[in-house]
Amino acid sequence: MTALTQSHSPTRGRIAAFLARAFSRPSFVVGVVILGLSLSLALFPQVFAPYDPLAFDLQAIQQRPSLAHPFGTDNFGRDVLSRVIWAYRVDMQMAFFATIFALLIGITVGAFVGYYGGIADVIFGRCVDAIITFPFLVLVIAIVAVLGPGLVNMYVAITAVNWVYYARLTRAEIMAQKANDYAAAGLVLGYSDRRIIFRHLLPNAISPILVYWMTDMALAILLGSSLGYLGLGAQPPAAEWGVLIAEGRNFLMTAWWMSLMPGIAIVLTGLGFSLVGDALADLLRPKGR
């Protein structure tokens, strides 16, 4: 018990020191505030949305932004702000589900080929070459084309391509860590490969991967809303930013707010993820590299 508390307190101290350094950076603080707000909007849209996002109001069709409707109303008189807020739920989910499985699969495969090398590594290298030969979006929409449009199929398609990027990163990190003495020490002590990989190498290799995950969530929102806009992601009547922007596309001349307002949410959320990601990358970068 004493051993446990002893081994915990330095870690906790380091984390506290790390957080203190992180929060002394304005960009990190801004990013965290944006992400915190986005998460609250995604979890409790009903608290924040002033109107029912689906309620038609035929008395108030395509009204300009005003105090009553800060983002205006759409062609059915629905409040655009409320729809944008409800869309946080879908888009924040997108950021998570489009990346988490790629992260898990990528780490597993990357750790495996990075640790064992050999023929598996050669095959992996070729597969990576082949997959990055396709433009990301083209490959994803080709897979969506075969599976059919929709959110779940979009997650499958993005994961099918995206895991490669995590695997490539993990492989490089694991190979770098493997060269260290402590990995050899693990071997000498007779630890199993699994123990060395997951208890020793991976914890040391994980921080760049998690930083990449942050920026990747921003990319996932850009990608997911693009697919939504193209009609291949979330399907109307679901409120999703890309879908909302597409709905306003035909009214750019008469009701520009329908398309332009939802974009603010995309930009803000993307900015939140990249600010946090960049700050973490800066802080975690080993000195003198």
Binding site: R126, C127, D129, A130, I131, I132, T133, F134, P135, F136, L137, V138, L139, I141, A142, I143, V144, A145, V146, L147, G148, A218, L222, S225, S226, Y229, L230, G231, L232, G242, I245, R249, L252, M253, W256, S259, L260, G263, I266, V267, L268, T269, G270, L271, S274, L275
Partner: protein, 313 residues
């Protein structure tokens, strides 16, 4: 110039990659759930008609045979017939490809002209308000999806101010430049955000490097230092980056072509998807893969020309 053996070795590298690309495209249409024949046939097609479609597509053959046929056809440029447009896929793609390539090149040129000078400005005034402002604006650009940038430009510059056409495609080179400026700009803004970030970092590094300080100490004029040392080195990283972001660029043109209704291969891909036109989807996916690997190849060649160190490996 890079040596011939380097070029040959680099070309040979493409072969295994391309084999995998072909396997992937082949499996994409065949192994995933859903029968292409049913998707292609009319709603009230009889079993005999379905059988006929399967036979025409060679779907009644064993998979390895189908694959060999697919490889042979691909190598001879025979990509089948489009269901939607009722014409050979190769012909359709070749007719639409120049528009997309024009748009992509246009975007790259715009992106370089946008990012280059601003990166220099930011790098020579690190951490001043100018630098912070430039980085801030481009950080914002990185958080914007291309279709949104396009719609913003379309609304403000085309619909409200009427400075530029809302869409379409010109007949002559100059008309093209004019018609495609907004779509090219939307892709360029996003691409330049990526370039600027890296170019700024590499410029700061080069400006601080020993050989540049030595050149200064030697009393070389700033202009010679700039052109001979700084620019050349900064160019290497920019070329690499541009080459690597060709995928992004292609994805971007696909989206802008849709936003601005430009008849290129990107919009064709979406039309093909909604029409479930499998031969066309397959042909287009292949086209994109070929485009990207050609650009990767060119990048390597230009890189080894600019940086002789890379030739040895």
């Amino acid at each position: 110039m890079p040596s011939l053996s380097y070029l040959v070795a680099r070309l040979l590298q493409i072969i295994p990659t391309f084999l995998l690309v072909m396997i992937f495209i082949f499996l994409l249409v065949r192994l995933l759930p859903g029968d292409p024949a049913i998707a292609m046939a009319e709603a009230k097609a009889t079993d005999a008609q379905l059988e006929q479609i399967r036979h025409n597509l060679g779907l009644d053959q064993p998979l390895p045979v189908q694959f060999l046929v697919f490889v042979k056809n691909t190598l001879t440029g025979e990509l089948g017939r489009s269901i939607m447009l009722k014409a050979p896929v190769t012909e359709i793609i070749l007719a639409r490809l120049p528009t997309t390539i024009f748009l992509a090149l246009y975007s790259v040129v715009l992106a370089i002209f946008l990012a280059g000078p601003l990166a220099f400005l930011a790098a020579s005034r690190v951490n001043t308000p100018v630098d912070v402002a430039i980085r801030g604006v481009f950080q914002l650009g990185l958080s914007m999806p291309v279709f949104y940038i396009g719609l913003l430009l379309l609304t403000v510059l085309a619909a409200q101010l009427r400075w530029f056409p809302v869409g379409g495609y010109g007949k002559t080179f100059l008309a093209n430049l004019y018609h495609l400026i907004l779509p090219a700009l939307s892709v360029a803004l996003y691409t330049s955000a990526i370039i600027l970030r890296n170019l700024r970092a590499s410029l700061i590094e080069v400006l601080d490097a020993d050989y540049v300080q030595f050149a200064r100490a030697k009393g070389l004029s700033p202009r010679i230092i700039m052109t001979r040392h700084v620019l050349r080195n900064a160019l290497v990283s920019t070329v690499t980056l541009l080459g690597l972001s060709i995928g992004n660029l292609m994805s971007g043109t696909l989206v802008t072509e849709t936003v601005f209704a430009i008849p290129g291969v990107g919009r064709l891909m979406l039309e093909a998807i909604f029409a479930r036109d499998y031969p066309l989807i397959q042909g287009l996916t292949l086209t994109f893969a070929v485009l990207v690997s050609v650009v990767f190849l060119l990048t390597d060649v230009v890189q080894s020309w600019l940086d002789p160190r890379l030739r040895q490996s």
